[in-house]
Symmetry: C2
Subunit: 491 residues, 2 copies
Amino acid sequence: MRLKVKDVKLSTGGPYVAILNTEDAEKLDLNPLDRVRLTTDGRELVVFLDISKKGIKPGQIGLFEEVLKALKLRNNNLINVYHQKKPESIYLIRKKLSGDKLNGKEIEEIVKDVVVNKLSAVDLTYFVSACYTRELDDNEVLALINAMVRYGGSLGIKQKMILDKHCIGGVANNRTTMLVVPIVAAAGYTIIKTSSRSITSPSGTSDTMEVLSPVALNRDKIKKVVKKTNACMVWGGAVELASADDAFINIERVLSLDPEGMLLASILAKKKSVGSTHVLIDIPVGIGAKFEDMKKARRLSKRFASIGKKLGMRIKTIITDGSQPVGNGIGPVLEARDVLAVLNGNGPEDLRNKALHMAGLLLEMTGAKDGKKLSTEILDSGRALKKMRQIIKAQGGNPNITPDRLVPGRHRYDVCAEKDCIIRGINNKNVSKLARIAGAPKDKAAGVYLHYHVRQRIKKGDAMFTVYAENKRKLEFVKDFLSKVKVIEGC
Amino acid sequence: MRLKVKDVKLSTGGPYVAILNTEDAEKLDLNPLDRVRLTTDGRELVVFLDISKKGIKPGQIGLFEEVLKALKLRNNNLINVYHQKKPESIYLIRKKLSGDKLNGKEIEEIVKDVVVNKLSAVDLTYFVSACYTRELDDNEVLALINAMVRYGGSLGIKQKMILDKHCIGGVANNRTTMLVVPIVAAAGYTIIKTSSRSITSPSGTSDTMEVLSPVALNRDKIKKVVKKTNACMVWGGAVELASADDAFINIERVLSLDPEGMLLASILAKKKSVGSTHVLIDIPVGIGAKFEDMKKARRLSKRFASIGKKLGMRIKTIITDGSQPVGNGIGPVLEARDVLAVLNGNGPEDLRNKALHMAGLLLEMTGAKDGKKLSTEILDSGRALKKMRQIIKAQGGNPNITPDRLVPGRHRYDVCAEKDCIIRGINNKNVSKLARIAGAPKDKAAGVYLHYHVRQRIKKGDAMFTVYAENKRKLEFVKDFLSKVKVIEGC
């Protein structure tokens, strides 16, 4: 069928979409989500179909910006529309959903089609469902990693040894990355750390690092920073590593799913695409953390090790206490202040200890002896602070920043103990939610400051924690939330 | 956030969708597929979010026709946009996908949200995946049926006894409905038959009946036809019975899935919403039919019986030979010709016998003795033909139509035997595909006519089958297809 182009003056942000009038769709026996092939002047493109009663007349075809651009079309151009068969990847997704295993070539076929936008949101949802209900085995995860790396971006940095760390998340603050990276780099190793921004948390490592320097660096800039400092701490989203993963995450988010195999692949594909050879992975376990169940954490830990071996990557996992926040501040500015304080020798003890432990383990993975002692020397001698300043400067920030220059939101609300008491628990989920209600991560200076941690004694009337906001109205929401939800147990 | 309405001059055909500019979406921390609540002048509506770089400026919100109508909005009106929590049904879908059972109330919650367009295509896909991978048990199917009936349309016909029949499909022609209905109605029973149009087959019962009379009747018209004739044969789509089912089918189609529980619910919800009390279900089994596997067919048969009991519906299933087409013609006109020929006493024997067998069983379900004998008398006496004419007339067709007035497509292509041979098989899938390539069901007169059936002897040079088309070019596609694919085995 030959149809006249109508520019609908909208973009989809990725997928190729065309709109037919109901009448033409019936004539062509087409349904929404069907694929059609558009041809014009030797160019052709497969697009997904939307069907509209209004706006597109019979004889017209509505095209979104992406399609117009790809086919070099304008209003009133004529194009041909043909039925298009489903791609092979659809049958492979069905195969997996039916419970069969997929081999490497089959998984690669799916990932390739994801990256080139050949699959619709419905197709992707079927694939995520398949990975969730018919768990991916180690070989499938490995294939998924390799395919995501092959069809994703890579930094193109090749070194014999690149160190890396990762935390599975769910624990408030826990900003060890910003200590481990300068310590390890100061010890002379290369460590390239790409992080995410917050999705549902009050701050991702990238949001916190962004308080000190830009994090949305392009590949060339990252290479320069690494060359200069042996390290970087950047936002992974800016370099689009393992882009298929972003498509999966968008779909997973709808049902808050996190299929184990996809979690493994998501993390390791990103590590592989920056060239990491030695990776330390922190799996916090505790009520309110991402893993509340030790059994699941142990299982994940084993799978990291076995898949790492197949990838030729040295992976060490540690299961840590995720039952309460690590550090005092929650929210970008408050967390950055904790980090700088530790580097300056006077930050929260728990954050300092965890970072030293992790930096030590990572150094030992390379063959170093007594890593914790080495890390402690590097931190206490000020060499880590110096390295941090180098990194901040190389990434475009102010290297002379000090903790006292990091000022939290100007509206504050102290929550005090109503009796003498001992803190029995600090719920990670609720404290994170509280910080978000206060405005984090968008309001960088918003968040929560914990004056005490679990097992500490508080006197009646003492502030247990302080909430900071940049906007007074948000503090009202904070009070409302606190009237309904308990953040501190035992007080 | 307060935004200015922009009418995007498109409809979605159902779901409520709004489009934000990328910049505003980031400010509001919103992603595609998120839900937002729009409020204006005391009205409010929850919509799904699309995000566009182009077409919608910061400060604007693009609205589709459905949203504009629901909120009575026009270009440049101002509305408020708020975050909206996910509906409870999202968590229920997740629960099922994780392998837990759902109770009746939970399933009702999901179906209700489907019907009022509260769920996106991604949400629906998760639900279909859940039903496919975590099979629905009888109680869940029952709950799904009751919910689909409650939140779908019903004909509102209440009688002590309403007969019905259904075929699981996959066998070419097999147009028993158009014989069973007039026979049973002529015997004095009420039989209300809603059928589907073809989705992937060369003709659905509705497409074939449409050759003889209109089938897209509204409720009032159907009631009048039933009152006048005791029967009807109409397109179910026109009365939107069990509308949630249509939403599920749209999603199932993408991966050609047919989860057993949803198949059971889809069929029985439609039966229940027309008030059927006695239902005969035909499950053809054979290579190329929907069920190739006797075990699966037996399992389905048992589940029909047990769920029917719980529904208070008498259901009888028969497993029939689905290894070859039933009747000679394939395609709307050719099938209608077969049916009229049987009613006139000279149609294909296999179609006649199967219809008499089924009509007999259905009559016996009501307590009649020797149903096959009774059916045969009704057919041979011409009473069934008379009843068929009444129905055709009541539905608005020409009651005096005769088989010779049903002329197949004017372009024909005979496929002849290359040697003396005996037909060993006729592949349902391939012969259906052939008829579709020839133009069926859209070209009503296109299709395939089988001169022989399985186990019949053919002489060299005799036509095994003839392909009819209304358009010469399609006959070229037919020849191309036949050069690659075997329709007849053994010759």
